[in-house]
């Protein structure tokens, strides 16, 4: 899966905006939005929030978790524990990137936030690489990955699945008498 596709999914998450325009309800195929009134908060999907922000038609309200103290706690927790801690949003990385790139003026201490999220991400990815290595070398058959986000899974997906599938091929080709249709007769 391309990272842009993970971002595409992340853009469906809802976020609060404060519009500066009026518009009556919009009946999208995916659900109803609005009505929009200047100064009154309304929830919209991120893809729309960013577009409206780009057109200077709204201010974006950062989600609750996009706060320095909360993120410091999360970073600490992630660094302390060997397992993966639950993240405040299944799309924490993409949302941070999207909102900071397009609405950093609406987000207090944007730079600190960026750093905190990146640190947490780095810690998690490092853990993930170790887990993946161990999975492959221990020849595990199953793993539970509850607190991993899609972006994290996607980052190691290609390499990981290819290694696993490659090793499987090697193993089955080495076993005599197995019905491996891929082997060559000549």
């Amino acid at each position: 899966m391309d990272p842009s596709e993970v971002e595409f999914l992340a853009e469906k998450e809802m976020v609060t905006i404060i519009p500066n325009f009026s518009l009556d309800k919009v009946y999208l195929i995916g659900g109803d939005l609005g009505p929009f009134n200047p100064g009154l908060p309304v929830d919209v999907p991120v893809w729309l929030a960013i577009n409206l922000k780009q057109r200077q038609k709204c201010r974006i309200v950062p989600p609750d978790w996009m706060d320095v103290e909360k993120l410091e706690e999360i970073r600490e927790q992630e660094r302390k524990v060997g397992m993966f801690t639950p993240m405040p949003s299944p799309y924490y990385m993409e949302l941070t990137k999207l909102l900071l790139n397009h609405a950093s003026d609406n987000i207090p201490k944007a730079d600190e936030i960026r750093t905190l999220v990146k640190d947490t991400w780095d810690t998690r990815i490092a853990k993930l690489r170790l887990s993946a290595d161990s999975f492959v070398s221990q020849q595990e058959a199953h793993a539970k990955l509850d607190n991993l986000t899609l972006m994290e899974i996607n980052t190691i997906r290609q390499l990981f699945l290819e290694s696993l599938n490659h090793m499987y091929k090697l193993r089955t080709n080495m076993q005599p008498g197995k019905d491996s249709a891929k082997s060559q007769d000549f």
Partner: protein
Amino acid sequence: MFGEKAIELVRELDRIGDGQLPAFNEDGIRQVLEEMKALYEQNQSDVNEAKSEGASELIPTIKFRHCCLLRNQRCIAAYLYDRLLRVRALRWEYGSVLPTSVRFHMSAEELEWFNQYKKSLATYMRSLGGEEGLDITQDMKPPKSLYIEVRCVKDHGEFEIDDGTIILLKKNSQHFLPRWKCEHLIRQGVLEHVLS
């Protein structure tokens, strides 16, 4: 050694990067086919001899030649099919009309395969409903916001967008504008797309 020319064909494609189409190796194919003909004829005569004179010592050689024949068939099929996959990819990359430079290395038969393929694909896409179906060779990437950031390269005066808002396009000013509205101004050299 038998099968050398055949494996060379396969190697040739392996060497070239994915997606590129080298010239069709007509000569190489011809040579492999000739080798196959020779092997087959030798086998025919040996098989007759083995049958009529009970010369069973010929059998290993017959089997060996048969293996070579199968291998040659396999290599040719692999070479031809791999090329077809590259030809197929061209439809998705360049559309239904191929630029001459890209068509250059296709054989006449490959071109015919390509034409059949694109016809098949067009029929399928048309069947998807609506007025003209759905062109699934478009929308290859997820859509991004309709708005793009542009910088004004030269003074252009007032510019109306959307809901009646007027923007002043002054040299060096930067704006977020709807993509569809900017495109012609970008082409004219009034605006340039700022890529972040």
